[in-house]
């Protein structure tokens, strides 16, 4: 099967001799939800820049569904939708005009462009703002506008460069849902992000870039299996004066009703609970430390906590 995206020995040396990419190779299969992770300056945006032709490569090959971006640039670009990290639309244009113009640049006849633009503006919750100049939109709306713009020609590959940067949690969740939906409909999605829980939640495969080289390229599941330690948060009913002592685990007291326990891969939780029971600690709830605040915030926004509080 032809890969949705194929990168071979891609290299980029900028004018100041900085080598941003040191010959990376990568394949993303059709229908995948693929994460490209890495610290700032790792080469993620340079890679996306080259795929989208905004950055000139020094060496290597890039193909989109078998179309080489050098020799069959038109076919390759028709397959691609790009959502960049920075806002890159005219601040003075109206929302619908921006999406319609992008459709025009991909050769969509006006009547079809209008149907497509309206469809994605509605899906992304921008319909009410369609006649608003882009500069009047909130940050989250601007991000959604860029997604609508990238999808208007219905590309088979959607590349998003940190799409949820600076977006509030509720909106981030709704964007995740939208991305899952279009991925389920067959669009291959490639995502760079700093939010690891975002990649964990959405992506099936992952590549990690560091200093211009790919240091990991594997499935999300096998990467997560390599995690050898997790932190669990325990809430207890009685007041604690000191952290319980649990053999084989690191324990830290958060407050008199709460403590954190490190659990390494393969350690038994039964044994942990036995030790807590022996010390008379009554555990009333337990959760993984990751995303705790995020969950709480979403619950607050959705009003779930108020209902629980009323009970």
């Amino acid at each position: 099967m032809t890969a949705a995206l194929s990168i071979k020995n891609l290299r980029k040396v900028y004018g100041n001799q900085f080598e941003a990419l040191k010959g990376i190779s990568l394949e993303v299969q059709a229908g995948d939800f693929f994460a490209v992770l890495g610290p700032n300056g790792a080469g993620k945006s340079t890679t996306i820049g080259i795929i989208s032709s905004l950055v000139r490569k020094s060496a290597g090959e890039v193909s989109v569904f078998g179309h080489n971006i050098d020799t069959h640039f038109s076919e390759a670009k028709q397959e691609l939708g790009i959502v960049p990290q920075e806002f890159n639309f005219s601040q003075f244009e109206k929302v619908r005009d921006i999406v319609l113009q992008q459709a025009g640049y991909y050769g969509l006849p006006r009547a079809k462009a209008e149907v497509q633009a309206d469809k994605y503006l509605e899906k992304l919750g921008l319909w009410d703002k369609r006649h608003t100049p882009a500069r009047m939109l909130s940050g989250g709306m601007k991000r959604r506008l860029m997604i609508a713009r990238a999808l208007v020609h219905e590309p088979r590959v959607l590349i998003l460069d940190e799409p949820t940067a600076g977006v509030d949690i509720e909106l981030r969740r709704s964007m995740w849902e939208f991305l899952r939906e279009i991925n389920a409909q067959g669009t291959t999605i490639i995502l760079t992000t700093h939010y690891l829980e975002e990649a964990e939640s959405l992506c099936r495969n992952v590549a990690i870039i560091d200093r211009g080289e790919i240091v990991q390229n594997t499935s999300m599941r096998s990467l997560l299996q390599r995690l050898n330690k997790e932190v669990f948060v325990f809430d207890c009913s009685g007041a604690l004066t000191a952290a319980p002592v649990i053999a084989g685990h690191g324990v830290e007291l958060v407050d008199e009703h709460c403590f954190e326990v490190e659990v390494e891969k393969g350690q038994s939780l039964n044994q942990l609970f036995d030790q807590l029971s022996a010390q008379g600690v009554q555990v009333v709830s337990m959760r993984n430390k990751a995303n705790r605040l995020e969950e709480l915030f979403v619950s607050l926004i959705n009003g779930q906590l108020d209902e629980q509080g009323a009970e």
């Binding site: 900028y14 820049g49 989208s52 032709s53 905004l54 950055v55 000139r56 640039f73 038109s74 076919e75 670009k77 028709q78 691609l80 790009i82 960049p84 920075e86 806002f87 890159n88 639309f89 005219s90 601040q91 244009e93 005009d97 921006i98 319609l100 113009q101 992008q102 025009g104 640049y105 991909y106 050769g107 969509l108 006849p109 006006r110 713009r149």
Partner: protein
Amino acid sequence: MQLAQQWVALSTIVRKEVKRFSRIWVQTLLPPVITMSLYFVIFGKLIGSRIGTMDGIPYMQFVVPGLIMMAVLTNSYSNVTSSFFSAKFQRSIEEILVSPTPNVIILLGYCMGGMARGLSVGVLVTVVSLLFTDIQVHSWPLTITIVVLTSLFFSLAGFINAVYANTFDDISIVPTFVLTPLTYLGGVFYSVSVLPEFWQWVSQLNPILHMVGAFRYGLLGTGGENIGYAFAGLLLFTAVLFAVSLYLLKNGSRLRA
């Protein structure tokens, strides 16, 4: 990209450009009309009546073709520089650069936008000039060809300026320090025949002199002795600017990292 798709892309760029300068008509269409009206009143009517004739024609009639050309070329140039540079500045140019739109379509789209503004202003200034004098067009085909080619030439020049520009200052330097002096010394307000021989020869190096001369010949039928050279030169330099602009787009310098 198929031909029909290229046509859609081209009309999208042109539509966007026309919409842009129409939306801000107080900044784009109105000022040249007011400025040229003042020129007609001051140079044509008040001072012109004392000058009498220039090259055998009433002074008012003499300045009309020059002022129309002045409006056309400055507006064609400034539309492309300001629009393309501001797209670069806001990075909205990336919308086109990531799309399959061929470079030649991008270039034609921006130039046609510049020509649409330049020629619109030209028509408005012509209408205003009719309030001050009668114009009997000597040759419609020649007049239209020269004004369209001139507009294209300056749109291309504006495009090159915008590609090289890094700041808003960079897009005002050429119009202020190159275009304005060449226009004022380009036979708009006087015939070069009134200059000493040396300065007549120097003036021949100014391309705007030939454009204005050719347009004046097309409109009034006078001073057409060098029309062939003017036409050939305009065609040649337009082709050169077109090739340079396309090279800059293909090469991607200052547009792609």
